[in-house]
């Protein structure tokens, strides 16, 4: 019963082995020299620019919110994607109306300038 899942198991095992091997080998073979720059907690050896806890500009929130909305609305495409053959022209029409409404929302936020970055 579980046989079809065997490739997934193999991928899973390989996926665990490769990163472990990479980390293990570099720990075994690589030289270890702690310099001041390397001990700085972030920015991978470069000189840090500014503090770590920076305030995120509000426009990221706006983009994130718009992303959530359009991302989740796509959930209604899932049933259609599964049954689009059986649903035929009827499904096409329904999805057309749905996407047209979604597109209207997109045009609205675009024209209102919510997508403008600066």
């Amino acid at each position: 019963m579980l046989r079809p899942y065997l490739p997934i198991l193999i991928i899973f095992i390989v996926g665990v082995i490769i990163p472990l091997a990479a980390l293990g080998l570099s720990a075994l073979l690589g030289p270890r020299k702690a310099t001041k720059r390397k001990l700085v907690p972030y920015e991978s050896g470069m000189n840090p620019i500014g503090p770590a806890m920076q305030r995120t500009p509000v426009r990221f929130y706006v983009v994130a919110m718009l992303f959530i909305l359009f991302d989740i609305e796509i959930i209604f495409l899932t049933p259609y994607a599964l049954y689009f053959r059986q649903m035929g022209l009827f499904g096409l029409g329904e999805m057309g109306v749905f996407l047209a409404i979604l597109l209207l929302g997109f045009v609205y936020i675009w024209r209102k300038g919510a997508l403008r970055w600066d």
Binding site: Y61, A64, L66, L69, D71, I72, E73, F76, P79
Partner: protein, 102 residues
Amino acid sequence: MSEISTNAYVLVSAILFTIGVIGVMTRRNAIIMFMSVELMLNSANLALIAFSRAKASTDGQIITFFVIAVAAAEVAVGLALLVSIFRAKRTTNVDDVSTLKG
């Protein structure tokens, strides 16, 4: 592999729902309250899916789609409001935002 009974799913969903309710009632940070509400909605989704499987009817799954979409809309509006309040007051704590009393 043994079947997990519908009762077990519903029990888990009831526990999640209760955690969500307690979260909304005890926490005072608006974002955490939102997360608790999400927990409530998703516990209901879990129950719907479990019932849907037990009955072999698709109605529950369809309801779940609607719940997910509506929850996203609600969160988007909530975050937008939070951002605008934060601009004015610099806080997301609901107790700090209380000019309305009477």
